[in-house]
């Protein structure tokens, strides 16, 4: 009974303070907010008489706040609605709404609002007997109030925690918090809170059976309540004092306290209060062994308790009546009232079990819903994360594709340009080669053919065929074929390696020299590096060697002609004979042979060296650089 009373007081206090605050601080708001505020005010007025009516106005206020999107208004109304739900035992509804209000409050970024909503969740958990959760939420709220340094709310949180901790038998922690609350409330202006915290501390001390320490606090609370003129608090304190005297065994002090208590209860005026007042008197008289008076007051108390069917009160009074009957020696009535009390007790226990079951069910439902919400948020977070991840993947893919496309395009363009360039180079080279081939054909083959034609014409015009002329035609045509053969050889792609050039020079020269019945000495080098000669180099080198050998065959009267190849960084070809040498004066300056020789060496970027002696014959050696040609 005692517990329930201060508990109700506390909840009520929070709601009341919240509404006051809104009304004071937001009075300048528009019509809508004024309307909401007045709706809340009307609801509050109805709260004392009818919870349903109060709820009606609170819900109306809530709707309006929602529609006008005034978050603070919505929060205030929720706070009031949940208070009603708590009183009506609709804890599940209350919890859902309070949890929603926490989420809503977070939008305001106001520590006070968030803290208040968290505290309301904690309160609902107290009703649900889930004290651990209640502590958790209250501590969260406490932190926010500490941050915002709101002493009023801070004190209330301390007080709340002090109420919860005894439930899990942590009295020392409860004392710690209630002392903090009292300290803050002493300095503060909210006297109701101060009184309430005094009551709480005294209650805790009573739990610890420190009745002597509790009594001064109750007395102080009573004094303060008197100053305040708070009838309810006066009733509560006087009742608690009465209880404590009883527990202390100071029965003589009980009657005067009970008298005062009755007066305060009468002032408050409800059936419950009347019952409480008469019950106090009955107890006081009973413990002072005045059974007759006690019985009268007990009957009066029962009368009021029966009016509102206050079971606990009824049970208590029947027990008292049973005790009084036994004291009066009326065993029959004693047993009768005892049985009555017992039956009410079993009903209470039954009710309690039902209530507990309902609570457990509600708790289970709540937890299920909480889990669902948690899962939902978790899932939505995962979804969010996934979609975020997906977005990133898509984004990077797009970037990647664009990058690759650009890169490929540039590469392709580069490749195209290169291809074009190479093609141009190639075409240029081909054009050059074509000109060179045409020149060679013109010079070598063309000249021979025109000579054949010239000789043939003479033969046609002159009667009598001269054998010498025909011989000339044959040799000229052979030469032309030979030259064509050489051009074809040089043009052949496969013949552009240095070894092939050397072998070709050897074979051609060998045949020439042998045909002239001269001994030929030529041992090709064993290791010929892999060098690629262009057809220009091939042809010029071959022609240089052939020309030198040809000269030796024609002019040296040698018996031996040799060719020696030497390969280092250059290709050195030495053609020597053991002939008679030549007379430099006899060689015309600017003669075709020499001119050609020099021209070919120049094209090859090489050098020419000729030694000439009458004893050792002629040695012609030319050097052709091989750099850049190694493969």
């Amino acid at each position: 009974m005692v517990k329930n009373k201060w508990f109700f007081l506390l909840i009520f206090g929070i709601c009341y303070a919240q509404n006051n605050k809104i009304i004071n601080s937001e009075s300048s708001l528009k019509n809508d907010s004024l309307k909401i505020k007045s709706l809340l005010k009307i609801g509050q007025k109805f709260e004392e008489k009818s919870n349903d009516s109060a709820l009606y106005y609170y819900l109306k206020a809530n709707n309006l706040a929602k529609n006008t999107r005034w978050i603070e208004g919505e929060l205030s109304s929720i706070s009031n609605i949940t208070a009603i739900y708590n009183i009506e035992g609709q804890y599940n509804k209350s919890l859902q709404l309070n949890l929603y209000s926490v989420a809503l409050a977070k939008k305001t970024n106001d520590y006070l609002w968030i803290g208040r909503c968290l505290a309301n969740v904690g309160t609902t958990y107290i009703y649900l007997n889930n004290y651990q959760k209640a502590i958790e939420y209250n501590l969260k709220a406490l932190k926010l109030f500490e941050k915002s340094n709101n002493k009023d709310f801070l004190a209330r949180m301390y007080a709340n925690l002090a109420i919860i901790y005894p439930r899990i038998e942590q009295y020392q922690k409860a004392l710690l918090y209630i002392d903090k609350a009292i300290l803050l409330n002493e300095k503060g202006f909210a006297t109701d809170n101060y009184i309430a915290s005094l009551n709480t501390k005294a209650n805790i001390l009573c739990y610890l059976k420190k009745y002597n320490e509790a009594m001064p606090l109750y007395l102080k609370g009573l004094e303060t309540a008197k100053k305040q003129g708070d009838k309810y608090q006066l009733a509560v304190f006087s009742n608690n004092i009465l209880d404590t005297y009883k527990l202390l065994g100071k029965y003589s002090k009980m009657i005067s306290v009970a008298q005062n208590h009755f007066n305060y209860c009468k002032d408050y005026g409800t059936n419950e209060m009347y019952s409480s007042g008469y019950k106090g008197l009955a107890e006081a008289y009973f413990y002072n062994k005045k059974n007759q008076e006690a019985q009268v007051f007990a009957d009066k108390s029962l009368h009021y308790a029966l009016k509102d069917t206050i079971l606990e009160e009824m049970k208590f009074i029947y027990e008292l009546k049973s005790k009084i009957s036994f004291s009066l020696g009326d065993l029959k009535n004693g047993n009768y009232f005892f049985d009555k009390a017992k039956s009410i007790d079993s009903q209470l226990v039954n009710d309690d079990i039902i209530k507990n079951t309902q609570e457990l069910e509600a708790k289970y439902e709540t937890e299920k819903k909480e889990l669902k919400i948690k899962n939902l948020t978790h899932e939505s977070e995962i979804q969010k994360y996934k979609s975020k991840q997906k977005l990133w993947i898509i984004f990077s893919l797009i970037i990647g594709i664009i990058g690759i496309t650009i890169f490929t395009y540039l590469q392709y363009k580069n490749y195209q340009n290169k291809k074009k360039f190479i093609l141009q180079e190639k075409q240029l080279a081909i054009a050059e080669e074509r000109i060179r081939i045409a020149n060679d054909m013109h010079d070598d083959v063309g000249a021979g053919l025109s000579r054949i034609r010239y000789i043939s014409t003479i033969l046609k015009n002159n009667e009598g065929i001269k054998n010498s002329e025909i011989e000339k035609i044959i040799s000229l045509s052979d030469e032309a074929v030979e030259k064509m053969n050489e051009i074809i050889w040089a043009l052949n792609q496969g013949n552009q390696k240095l070894d092939e050039l050397i072998y070709y020079i050897r074979s051609q020269c060998s045949e020439m020299v042998h045909n002239a019945s001269i001994e030929f000495i030529c041992e090709p080098p064993t290791n010929i590096p892999n060098v690629i000669f262009g057809w220009k180099e091939n042809r010029n080198t071959y022609l240089l060697a052939k020309e030198a050998v040809n000269n030796a065959i024609k002019h040296s009267k040698a018996t031996i002609i040799s060719i020696h190849f030497e390969i280092s960084n250059d290709l050195k070809i030495t053609i020597s004979d053991n002939g008679i040498g030549y007379n430099p004066e006899k060689i015309r300056k600017g003669s075709n042979g020499l001119k050609n020789f020099n021209k070919r060496i120049e094209t090859l970027e090489g050098s020419l060296n000729i030694t000439n002696s009458t004893d050792n014959g002629v040695t012609v050696s030319f050097t052709i650089p091989l750099h850049n040609k190694f493969r």
Binding site: S477, Y503, S510
Partner: protein, 206 residues
Amino acid sequence: MITICIIEDLPEIRGSLEQLINNQDNLKLLFAVDNAEEGIPLLQENNPDIAIIDINLPGINGIDCIRKVKDNCPNTQFMIFTIYENDEKVFDALAAGASGYMLKKTPSDKMIEAIIDLNNGGSPMSGQIARKVINFFNEKKKPTHEALTKKENEILLLLSKGFLYKEVAHKLGITIGTVTQHIHNIYEKLHVNNKTEAINLVYGKK
């Protein structure tokens, strides 16, 4: 008596060859035509000792002509008649079944010599062709192939380096006749291996 056939499209050259052969007592010209289409059935019918065939013919060329009649003329020696020794096609013709070649610039007395030489098993081979033959046998080193002997390899190597038959014979201490005989054998192996290759190409594609 050596029987000879000629497929040559240029009438002057064909005529000159005909005259040359007809003037020889030991040579007998069976026919001379100017295209392979006409020549192929005649070759198969007559089965001459020597067939002188130009590479560049109108229609079926000399190489395909040899390929077609080679199997039906087991006793015929095919001789390529060409202007250029370095012509890529000379090797192809040799691989297809020819055992020798003659250059058109060859003086007539030498031409008769070459025909008799070929009939006796001698075969000409330039350094270029020797090189190609070496490459052919190196590439087609398969167990089924008839490999070249060590001597044959040596000869080919020297020829490829520009040594004349005379010089090869001198270097290896053998006669020129032996050298030509070796070359003839090399050509035979080339034909066989080339033919195996062709058959494999047909039947290997399963």
